[in-house]
């Protein structure tokens, strides 16, 4: 295949990956890895490098809008970034010693978990009594809604912090944002309102991914010939997805994508078990 043909096909694929990632709420990077490894037969290390930059692009691109609206809890994000960046550095270090087949299997499991997470119920947790730690760390906040500013308080900060470390390790190891795990830590454990937890998680993904991307760049995982079409394609796809989300009800689409992603994940695991990576 010529470089031109490869780049154009990859551009289209990355566009669809960005679209799927944004419609399901999984994030732009996650779908890039199976796209590159299963469809293009690219080595998983290059796929991880490309997915990392795609995660940074979509996270920073969409976070800019949410931050402006004042929904993102910046203190909460920064505090938890201690956990995710330490985790990301550890994850990137483990990645050297871990066989690529094992990485593929872990990736498949995380992908299935993430797809399942997008289908669960969403709570606003408005009547939670905050813990002492939340008070001390100034993590309680408020966010704008149609009916004015809504106050919220948080609990079980250390529980959330530990899950965030795990999310960081996975994101460093697999090159993904692991947004689903971040939302789980905030939403289910710390009782952050759903809107705040999704936007804050998105805000954090860029920093977490950057912490391991600086290592992967030097390790040669990021190939410019793959990264260029992936960044552009995923960004345009994610932006299109965000516009679609505002205009229509994507419930059915979301379920279809979640099923498709589960099948892809099983495929990754199957190939991993059969040492095809």
């Amino acid at each position: 295949m010529s470089i031109l043909a490869f780049t154009l096909i990859l551009l289209l694929g990355a566009f669809l990956a960005g679209l799927a990632g944004s419609l399901t709420g999984l994030g732009g990077g996650v779908v890039v890895i199976p796209l590159l490894t299963l469809c293009f037969n690219i080595d998983i290390r290059y796929a991880i490098g490309a997915a990392l930059v795609a995660s940074i692009a979509t996270s920073s691109g969409s976070a800019s809008a949410y931050v402006k609206e004042g929904i993102t809890n910046m203190r909460l994000g920064m505090f938890l970034e201690i956990a995710t960046t330490v985790g990301a550095v550890i994850g990137a270090a483990i990645a050297i010693y871990m066989p690529t087949n094992v990485i593929a299997v872990i990736f498949g499991m995380v992908l299935i978990f993430s797809a399942a997470m997008t289908l669960r119920k969403k709570y606003d947790h408005s009547v939670v009594k905050g813990s002492m730690t939340a008070e001390k760390l100034k993590l309680n906040g408020s966010y704008p809604t149609k009916d004015g500013q809504v106050e919220y308080e948080l609990t079980n900060i250390m529980g959330g912090f530990s899950i965030m470390s795990l999310a960081g390790v996975l994101s460093g190891l697999l090159g993904i944002g692991s947004g689903a795990l971040k939302v789980l830590a905030m939403d289910s454990v710390m009782r952050v309102p759903f809107k705040v937890s999704t936007t804050t998680s998105n805000f954090m993904i860029g920093v977490t991914a950057a912490a391991s991307a600086v290592v992967y760049l030097q390790r040669g995982y990021i190939d410019p010939g793959i990264a260029f079409p992936v960044i552009i394609g995923v960004l345009v796809g994610a932006t299109t997805g965000a516009k679609l989300l505002q205009r229509m009800n994507v419930k059915v689409l979301r379920i279809i994508f979640s099923i498709a992603i589960t099948i892809v994940a099983l495929n990754m695991m199957y190939n991993g078990f059969n040492h095809k990576f």
Partner: protein, 133 residues
């Protein structure tokens, strides 16, 4: 006094707005640089057979180090220009942390200056520990 003053000039919401704009500028700049490099790449090498990505081979050192990338950019090497776009993209969230450090400082929030400093140190540690000098 000073606290009121800094709050008035740069309130929490203003800072959020500045950080939001910064993130957008970073992503747009990175995409434009990568796009320029990409167009040159396709014009010059488009008809060549694609590299073998099925096997991992260590990237040529000029694409893994900032100095190599920058000297490649000056000699108009398309792959280096694309990689510079990637570097700008990676730098965007790191710059965001820098800005937060500054903004928590303005708010006299010592605890969060320390927390932000820890995050920044971890990233810088990660950056320099991987470097082969």
């Amino acid at each position: 006094m000073i606290k009121d003053f800094s709050n008035r000039i740069l309130g929490d919401r203003d800072l959020q707005r500045i950080i939001g704009t910064l993130l957008r500028i970073g992503v747009v700049t990175a995409s434009i640089i990568a796009l320029i490099g990409g167009v040159i790449y396709l014009f010059v090498h488009g008809m060549e057979t694609m590299p073998d990505y099925g096997r991992f081979h260590n990237e040529a050192p000029i694409y893994t180090h900032l100095s190599g990338i920058i000297s490649g950019v000056f000699s108009l090497d398309a792959r280096s220009i694309m990689q510079l776009g990637v570097v700008v993209l990676i730098m965007t969230p790191i710059m965001r942390v820098f800005c937060s450090l500054f903004s928590f400082g303005l708010e006299r929030d010592r605890m969060y200056v320390v927390i932000t400093f820890i995050v920044l140190s971890i990233i810088l540690f990660s950056m320099f520990s991987g470097m082969k000098i």
